[in-house]
Homo-oligomer: 389 residues x 2
Amino acid sequence: MSITYPGGFRAAGVAAGLKSTGKPDVALVTNDGPLHNAAAVFTSNRVAAAPVLWSRQVVSDGRVDAVVLNSGGANACTGHEGFQNTHHTAEATADLLGVSATDVLVCSTGLIGEQLPMERLLAGVADAAGSLGRGGGPTAAEAIMTTDTVAKEARYPATADSASEGYSIGGMAKGAGMLAPGLATMLVVLTTDAALDAAALDAALREATRVSFDRTDADGCMSTNDTVVLLASGAAGIAPDQAQFTAALTEVCLDLAAQLIHDAEGASHTIAVTTLNAASERDAEVVSRAVARSNLFKTAIFGNDPNWGRVLAAVGTTDAVFEPDRLNVSMNGVQICRNGGIGESRDLVDLTGHDVTVEIDLAAGTDAATIWTNDLTHEYVHENSAYSS
Amino acid sequence: MSITYPGGFRAAGVAAGLKSTGKPDVALVTNDGPLHNAAAVFTSNRVAAAPVLWSRQVVSDGRVDAVVLNSGGANACTGHEGFQNTHHTAEATADLLGVSATDVLVCSTGLIGEQLPMERLLAGVADAAGSLGRGGGPTAAEAIMTTDTVAKEARYPATADSASEGYSIGGMAKGAGMLAPGLATMLVVLTTDAALDAAALDAALREATRVSFDRTDADGCMSTNDTVVLLASGAAGIAPDQAQFTAALTEVCLDLAAQLIHDAEGASHTIAVTTLNAASERDAEVVSRAVARSNLFKTAIFGNDPNWGRVLAAVGTTDAVFEPDRLNVSMNGVQICRNGGIGESRDLVDLTGHDVTVEIDLAAGTDAATIWTNDLTHEYVHENSAYSS
């Protein structure tokens, strides 16, 4: 179920006292090979955290031996001292594992603008290195949680009985896109025992994240720390077909993305906004995202109100190809807006369940895309106004 | 204080039963000349309401004799029938006033996706035409309110004792940018007794709205009905200098914009986000807007939390010219972020008052711009989740 499901990986999660709750807060993942190939994608935020600046360099040669992660502090906007702290963490980890610091990826999550308590962090890293094991995945997933209410893990094949191609993929994630308080970051570690080189991993990872995490938009806020890393050990001795591997990796990423949105802070509805019959996939994504980012739409869903006027108002802000009088909108299968005007009765739409589907028909082509989001609730306002004070 | 302050204008506001509360909901403004020059700006939302489609045509020749406005229904996404209803309203108004329907501007505000109750509306228009008077401005301002808690009016010169150039400007407004529930629209009517032709009015209006209403961003949601119209009667017999008139008009627009944000739904803080030392005015506006639209920033301010990390995370999403390690951020005068890192103590920032100033120094040039917004509160979620259900 976890990142230690594929062969060649060990992991650990320990409590180092970074979190005031005393829960696990330092995780370590090692790739024991035989291969040590890796790829990663990072936040496009220009205010990037120290561990992101460091890790971009680490992964640039396609080799990663270990990933060290901490919750309880983002190490973002912490200047030269913050970068030195990341460097120091990588070196300490490398010394413990007998690898090079330049092959140790670092991820941090928590409040922006505070220095990490290095003494406690380094003691935790030593503790984690001593606890590494083939069964350590679940504890590692727990150690990267911030306000997540459950740990998020996924695997391929999905069950022990599922058909596979002789290799496996494991994954863990934390956060809820950019929704978590303090911009507390989405961190994802993916592992596979397939034998793929860094370029193949990079291509598969970019395609898988494009249609999964990149389409998960909880509150439109981009983190300074987002990192998704994919490690390949080659322990299965299988070199899979690139397209098949990409599809399997995408499946794992979609599973983790769904778990993130489902656990989004304060959310009472998970909303899939799908745009259909668009002139391009880009148009479909732009329209779905505009709706998913509308606070008025999101508060209406919180109120179980099928307010399609707020959907059309958001669609109208985009440059996608459409004619206003040809737009159709359905919520949970009821077409409440037809040809840009009044369709079926709002009263037919039941929004009391957790899952909501919104379908916007642009009548302009054949492409489609879905953005996953959640509603805007009192709980969201409460958690995000009370976080750091 | 109102739109009837300048010479040449009469107005009225009446209760026609469009609002369930029985409060005034139909307003009428007439320009008795001698000039009947006008300019207007409208929402750029591609899903535009019927009255916007109609009024764009009306103002295209630079002449407007009357403006008829209703609350209690936006007449947006109402198809052919909705457009016919707007046309019918203009014709009925024109007949009552003895003018041409093509010189009658129409504005509507309220819920999207419902037809207006035409019988009540037309009875209200007749009632308003019979009630027109030189003292009618305040009642007209009341009749366009939706969830506004106070009517918004402004004038130039600001007081009877202020220096002026021999002419005056009056204005009324409703809504709070795009924040009002149901996207209930910003409507603004401005009047002047100065003698200016339509082209001069248009140039002055575009410049004044660019730095006032266009920089008022309550919740990032663009309405289907926004309209700002400026009418000139020439009754003062004064042809002012264009630059002086633009400055006076901008002053009135800034006054109304400040009133809109101050009355924004559910807001507990009014926030001025100013970006300084930008490479261009456009950069400054883009950065201020990115911060003003960050839900995480807005919830932090609601919690009286000077969370500058959320400011930097929003700045980092823009393409403005800056170096992350040269950014400074001050809140209410305390520089809590210096050179992209930790500055003065957060504890020095007092956010308990209603007004909050955020200053972002890009250290990249000499330009500046302010966006006015408000915090994201429980009241906002409550009012917007409960509006139409």
